[in-house]
Symmetry: C2
Subunit: 199 residues, 2 copies
């Protein structure tokens, strides 16, 4: 799935897996330190102890590299607590931790903004976004199967209602998100989800 590692089936020197990881790690470090705009392929190569050409052999440009590095960031793991509220609280607490501990909050908005002009990159980023939303979709589906939610609910819109407040909060106000706030946001969202019928 990763663009950089097309394992060589035939003879010849194989691509270094260590270099691959070093490049992605350096990319994430540098994005966190200096931001996307100041990031350059040459800097990534220097930081990862790899030749500049090696990076270009695997990724055509800076953006796909950052997208793949982004895909290496931790994703949500969906626990099955038997009820929707606890599932959502657990998921959003994980999300808040990831936002606090990784450069996700710095990478994702920039990628989203840049992909608006590049359908190719958008096609690269879209499945990543979808994969990160999947655990929430599944938690909602389990709630539907338990009749906690009506069967005709709009799952995608529900995910937006649940994640949206936290995302905007950390994006534009830069506010810290505490566990108590997570519970309040979940409850706030849940009171409205029933209105999000699909028809």
């Amino acid at each position: 799935m990763s663009a950089g590692t097309l394992p060589s089936p035939g003879p010849g020197r194989p691509r270094s897996v260590e270099a691959h990881r070093a490049i992605l790690d350096a990319t994430l470090e540098l994005v966190a330190e200096v931001g996307f705009d100041q990031l350059s392929v040459a800097r990534v190569a220097r930081r990862s102890g790899v030749s500049k050409a090696t990076v270009y052999r695997r990724w055509p440009s800076k953006l796909p590299l950052v997208i793949e590095a982004f895909s290496e960031l931790p994703t949500l793991e969906a626990p099955d607590n038997g009820n929707l509220v606890d599932d959502l609280i657990a998921l959003l607490r994980q999300f808040a931790e990831i936002l606090r501990d990784t450069p996700l909050a710095r990478v994702l908005p920039v990628l989203a903004g840049e992909c608006a002009h590049d359908p190719e990159l958008s096609a690269l980023l879209a499945p990543q976004i979808k994969a990160r939303r999947a655990p929430l979709i599944q938690a909602l589906e389990r709630a539907v199967s338990r009749s906690e939610l009506p069967p005709d609910i709009d799952l995608e819109a529900s995910v937006d209602v649940i994640m949206g407040p936290l995302v905007t909060r950390m994006l534009f106000t830069g506010a810290e998100i505490e566990p108590d706030n997570v519970r309040r946001f979940v409850e706030a969202a849940l009171f409205g989800i029933n209105r999000l019928r699909s028809d």
Copy 2:
């Protein structure tokens, strides 16, 4: 308030107001066309028919320029319909129109991501964000004064709950936002706002 126009109080040739507008317009055009990463001061100068030095005389770098151009984008105008639902629907419809007709959706996430590494720029962007949220805050305050909402409501969090779903929807899924969806999102959010007490 704008960084570029410090009107000359004494003698000497004053700064061209036309050039100022041309530069900001060209910046917005180029951001919409090629994105923030591909944007360069030289391109802005060429597009606006202005010398490169003129741009540097007014803005120290690319980011403050884009931030000021961003501040020129239309803001929300708060109507007073006498009830909260209609106020919010009107505001969010305006917001959806702005997202559709201007490069706001492409500029804002990139700025937010870049400002995460630069406190100086963050200080430049923060008041712009606050000003754009103000009409929603005012609509909520009117609702409180009409006893539509409890007086101890968390206004900022309420704004996040109302705007968040739309913002994430247009940011990460790129979905079109139709007027009907706006009404549903407003209703979805309103059912939960009462839980957002400030204590």
